[in-house]
C-alpha cells in the first residue's frame, strides 16, 4: 500500500457503471450422506467499485458459503452446481485453477472471523505478509522487510518495526486481525471480502477494526463485501445490504431504506428483535420458531412457517410456490408474496 502508492490507482478504475462483481443465481450444494444441503440456493448480488456491500443473516443462512463460492474455495462434498460469478466481466467459474490462484489475494482478498487461526503460528507475521507479495509479484522480485513494516504501519499497528518479527501468539486478537487486513490489502485488491471480521473481537477493538476498513475503502477505493450477523455493524458500515435467510437472498436495499422501511417480514422481525441502545422497549419482538434445516426445506417460501404476515394476510401461495425477487420500490428488492401479489 504505502509501499505501492506510486502505482497509479486512478488508471485502474474506469469510470463506468459496470459492476465489479456480479453474482447470478449462485447455487452451492453439499452432497452428504444425510441428503443434499442447499447452503446457497439461488443468490444474486452485485458489488460496485468502492462500495461496501453488507450481507447479513443468521448462522447457517449461507452468507459465508456465498463468499467462499466467489473465491471458489468450496471443498468436497460441496460443489457449486449452477450460477455465474462475473468479476470484471469474466466468469470465475470458467477460470482454471491457476487463474484462480493468481486472482486470490491479488484482485479479491478475504479476511476471516478468527484472525488467530487464520495465521500460521510458526511463522513470523512479517514473512507471512511478504509471502503474498512473493506469490503475486514474482519470486525474483526483491522483497525487503521495509515493505512489510510499511504494510503494518498502514493498518495502524503501533511500533511496526518490532511487530514485523512477532509470531502470531505474541499479538492480541485485534492486532492479528490488522495483520490479516494488511495481508489482504498488500496487493491492493479491487474487492475485499470480510467474513465476520470483528465477531471474535471486543467492542472497543471492533470499533477500531471497522474504522480501519472504512478508511482503507475511502483511501484506496476498493469494494468491500462485509458479511456479518450484526445488524448494528451493517447499519453503520454498509452502503447497500442483502439480507439472507436459509440459503437465499430475501431482501436488498440501500442501508437507509432498509432500516427505514424493511419490507420482508423476516427483515422486519430481525430489526424489531434486537435491542437498540437508546431505545428501550418493554419487550422485544420475537420471530417464532427456528430456521429450517437446509436439507429439508419447506416448499414455497422458506420463511413461511415462521411468518406472521402470512397468517395475518391469509396468503395461500406462500407454502406452495417460492416467491421471486421483485423490485417492490425503486432500488428496493424483496422476495415475498405480499408484494408480488400486489403487483399482479
Amino acid at each position: 500500500m504505502a509501499a505501492l502508492k506510486d502505482t497509479n490507482r486512478q488508471n485502474k478504475q474506469p469510470a463506468d457503471d459496470q459492476p465489479l462483481l456480479e453474482v447470478t443465481d449462485l447455487r452451492t450444494y453439499f452432497f452428504t450422506r444425510e441428503g443434499t444441503v442447499k447452503a446457497v440456493d439461488g443468490v444474486s448480488l452485485t458489488v460496485k467499485r468502492g462500495e461496501i456491500r453488507g450481507i447479513v443473516g443468521e448462522s447457517g443462512c449461507g452468507k459465508s458459503m456465498t463468499a467462499m463460492s466467489i473465491l471458489r474455495l468450496v471443498d468436497k462434498p460441496g460443489k457449486i452446481v449452477s450460477g455465474e460469478i462475473l468479476f470484471k466481466g469474466k466468469n470465475l467459474l470458467e477460470n482454471s485453477t491457476r487463474e484462480m490462484t493468481a486472482l486470490r489475494g491479488k484482485q479479491i482478498s478475504i479476511i476471516f472471523q478468527e484472525p488467530k487461526s487464520s495465521l500460521n503460528p510458526v511463522l513470523k507475521v512479517g514473512s507471512q505478509l511478504l509471502e503474498v507479495l512473493r506469490i503475486h509479484q514474482g519470486s525474483k522480485r526483491k522483497i525487503n522487510r521495509d515493505e512489510a513494516v510499511s504494510l503494518l504501519r498502514d493498518v495502524g499497528i503501533p511500533d511496526p518495526q518490532m511487530r514485523v518479527s512477532n509470531y502470531p501468539h505474541e499479538m492480541s486478537g485485534g492486532m492479528a486481525q490488522r495483520v490479516m487486513i494488511a495481508m489482504g490489502m498488500a496487493c491492493e485488491p479491487d474487492l475485499l471480502i470480510a467474513d465476520e471480521p470483528t465477531t471474535a473481537l471486543d467492542v472497543t477493538i471492533q470499533a477500531q477494526v471497522l474504522d480501519l476498513i472504512r478508511n482503507l475503502r475511502d483511501e484506496y477505493g476498493m469494494a468491500v463485501m462485509l458479511i456479518t450477523h450484526n445488524m448494528g455493524i451493517v447499519a453503520e458500515m454498509a452502503d447497500i445490504v442483502t439480507v439472507m435467510y436459509a440459503g437465499t437472498a430475501v431482501e436488498e436495499a440501500r442501508t437507509d431504506d432498509l432500516f427505514e422501511a424493511p419490507l420482508h417480514p423476516y427483515t422486519q422481525g430481525l430489526i424489531a428483535s434486537i435491542p437498540v441502545m437508546g431505545k428501550v422497549k418493554d419487550r422485544l419482538e420475537v420471530i417464532p420458531g427456528m430456521v429450517p434445516s437446509l436439507i429439508d426445506m419447506p416448499p414455497g417460501c422458506r420463511f413461511a412457517p415462521r411468518c406472521v404476515a402470512r397468517v395475518k394476510h391469509q396468503l395461500q401461495q406462500c407454502e406452495v410456490e417460492e416467491p421471486h425477487m421483485i423490485e417492490a420500490k425503486p432500488n428496493h428488492y424483496v422476495r415475498c408474496w405480499l408484494y408480488e401479489s400486489e403487483e399482479s
Binding site: 472497543t204 445488524m231 447499519a235 434486537i274 435491542p275 441502545m277 420475537v286
Partner: protein, 332 residues
Amino acid sequence: MTNSENLLEIRDLKVYFEVKGGILKRTVGHVKAVDGVNLSIKRGEILGLVGESGCGKTTVGRALLRLIPATEGTVYFNNQNIFKLKPSELKPLRSQMQLVFQDPYSSLDPRSRVGDIVGEGLRVHGVSNRGERHQRVLEALRMVGLQEHHMRRFPHEFSGGQRQRIGIARALVLNPSFIVCDEPVSALDVSIQSQVLNLLKDLQQTLDLTLLFIAHDMSVVEHLCNRVAVMYLGKIVEVADREELFRNPQHPYTQALMSAIPIADPKIKRQRIILQGDPPSPLNPPPGCRFHTRCQEVIDICSQVIPEQIDLGNQHFCACHRRQPVQEAATS
C-alpha cells in the same frame, strides 16, 4: 452491618490467580483478575455487569458463588458472610444461588437426558421422592417453555436457544432467589436471543428473582437491567441506575464503550470515540488508574494514584480523577 435492602453485598473482593513458571514451577506472578470490587445487589433487581473479555466479570460471578476461592474480601448473602461458611453450612445456601452458563453446548452433559440434567440439583439437595422430582422438573421446564416429552431427550436434539432454556430450567428447579447469568445470550443468534431475553425478564418478574446479568453487550444490558456496573481490568469503574448511566455516562471508558457499539439505526448519528490500543494485561496492570493508558482525558495524577469511587449523586458512582463528587453541602 449490611443494608437489608441488599440481597448480596460484595466488599473489596480480590481474586488472584497464580502464574507458575520455571522448572520448579514457582509462583512468578499473579493475574489480578478481580482487584478490589465493591458492589451490592438489591433484592428483586437485575444488575448488569458489563466489560470486555478479560476484565474479570465472569470471575466476580464465580467467586461470589464460591465456585472459585477468593483471595481477599467478603460476600454477604442475606446478611451472612458466605466466605466464612463451612462446606456443610454452604450447601443449603447453594440451592438459593444458581448459575446459567454462556455456552449452552458445553454446559449440558451430552450423555444425560434433559430430565436428569434438570433434576440433578434436586437429587443433590435431598429430594429423594421420584414423583416429586418429576413434578418439579416438569414445572421448571414449563416455565421456560418446554414440554413434558422433552424430558426424555438428549441435549443434542435441541437447538441453541432451547438448550439455553434447559440451562435456565436447571437453575430454576431449586427455587433460588438469586441467579448469576453469565453471558446467557451471547452464543445465540439474534432472533433467538430476543426469545431468551424476554423469557429472563418474565421469569424475573413472576418469580421475583434477583439476577446478576454478566454481559459484554451494552444494548442487551440496557434492555434488561435495572442497574449497571461497568468493569475494566479487575475494577468497577462506574455504577448507576440504567437510565442514569445510559443518559449520562461519566467514566471515559463507559463513554467509549457506548460509542463503540454499532447501532442498528443508520439515522442515529453519534460522536465516535475510538480508543487506541488494546487493554493491558491483568498480569501486569498499569499503576494508578488502570484505564489511563487508553484514556483521552488523562492527566498526571492518573498514572500515579488509583482513583477512589466517588458519589456523583443520584446513586451514580464513578472512579475517575477527572470527575467531581456532589457537594457535601447537599447532605448537611
